[in-house]
Amino acid sequence: MANAENKLLEIKNVSKHFKVSEGRLKAVVDVNLDIFKGETLGLVGESGCGKSTFGKTLVGIYNPTKGTVLYYKEDGTPMEINKKTLFSYSKMAQIIFQDPYSSLDPRMTVADIIEEGMIIHKMYDKTRRKERVFELLELVGLNREHASRFAHEFSGGQRQRIGIARALAIEPEFIVCDEPISALDVSIQSQIINLLHDLQKKLNLTYLFIAHDLNIVKYISDRIAVMYLGNIVELASSKDLYANTLHPYSQALLSAVPIADPDKETQKKRQILEGDVPSPINTPKGCPFAGRCPYVMDICKQEKPPLEMKQGHLVACHYVKDK
């Protein structure tokens, strides 16, 4: 899957800072990442770690404070994302939001919501657009009759389907799924996961799948990046990450997730992290995880570990040895 020619996005040293009254809030810090065509990259981390900010930066909702995002066009030529290219890029990259209740305009019909993107990007004529709306509704498992209704007439799972149809309307290549299922009930979650998976196969989509439910991320992703305080601390294939977890934070995160299996739960040794995630405002130098890490060494407080290849993973940790 990780094939260099297949690069879709190249993220170089991207940082996103916000000015707040107490100083600078570093939401995303120096992220270097490639996203390949057709893959699902999972992004996990606790709330406030910057994963949504990163996702929004990738679709151009935020401008990065530092660094560049390169988008590789069909012919392989790179295009830098900036103010000039943002409009044409936005046709390629779309986002599905977490909350299906607040992300749909309550005063627009479903057809209007889905059609809007196509009008903005001057796609098709009026009759074809109407047809496309029906096709998209059927694609995401809704009916033609739903087109004239308003968002409040639907359940959470159905609204999320409308959100997916809206994102697909302009035929993007890349979709950021920002916690698309965390607002839904368990029995509805699997419906949406299966739908996203089918659409990916059918339309050859690339996903950045942001979530805090690690079981779901493992299931859906080819590769997983673990984020802590705006830094990517570990990046590996989904299988490797779970089989051989290297970064102490990833280990704690994975062991904290309860499994729906009582026997495994009683046997499992849960590694409990002390304390809370520190504030991303005016972070100290050194490793961002040093304050909570059970294996902390002197160097961790002095020097920030770079993200380097160790034991087949990209991992940012002084403690992890390269065998």
Partner: protein, 341 residues
Amino acid sequence: MKGMDVRMSKVLEVNNLQVSFDTYAGEVQAVRGVSFELEEGEVLAIVGESGCGKSVTAQTIMKLNPMPPARIKDGEIILNDKDIVQATEKEMRQIRGNDVSMIFQDPMTCLNPTMQIGKQLVEAIKNHRKLSKDEAMEEAIRLLKLVNIPNPEQRIKQYPHEFSGGMRQRVMIAMALSCEPKLLIADEPTTALDVTIQAQIMDLLQEIKEKTNTAIILITHDLGVVASMADRVAVMYAGKVVETGTSKDIFYNPSHPYTKALLKSLPSTDMDRSTRLVSIPGTPPDLLNPPVGCGFASRCEHCMKICHEVYPYQFDVDEKHVSACWLLHDDCPSPKVGGEK
């Protein structure tokens, strides 16, 4: 062994509880006949999707939902050998805190933002116990220590906004424990928290259960949380308990089609994308007009004619393992779903 206490005294017994809300649209039958019981030191998890009536059941045990619009139509709630359905608000005030207390989903909104943490704890303690102000303050510090808050002496002078989400949930637990209740109701105690903080809080609840032998009702939709804490599980769907059993019964030998589908819809750790997740088609029924028969019938792959017409009896699958599904009836022609995995 979990729950193997010698003094197995019954703390709570709920019989055929029915709760409705009178709204402009009509009567919403949120809880339609729920029965369960709980012994000392036992953790009962009530699981179900949003709107299945699990929180209403819990709030009714505390009688926290405003009446009207809520109304207990029928049933009894026997707490420490006393039926509290008829209890007045004045009596309830004594029962809440002393006999049963509750922690909520959202620790951000449950504390008074204008009062120091210590004062809020002292207020709760002095309401129920005859202690002087200084003694109550000492008790508050002891409670904060119990829930593993570092530097409690300094922390009691701080305000809620100076506490993180996990710390606030600890304060809520300390407050709930201040009068040593026999029963603690935890309504989605970790839903608003991150996984690493969730692990801390679950660990704390487990520790407290062992120290104080409090019975806990854990309300959640996260089956992982259930697996790690519960002794027994009640699965709710559309206002009714469809299956009860020990944690092992439910996870390893589920009998009701809803429980089975729910468990299968979760990706297991050794699963990849080549195996499709099982999804339950459709949505839960509208409780304004609940179905006459089984609430799950319209989404059930094994649905029979009788399922739409008559609500199934409670069938014994095993000792302590009960399931409400017609497939378990002796005359059911199709291969039994109960028993197999």
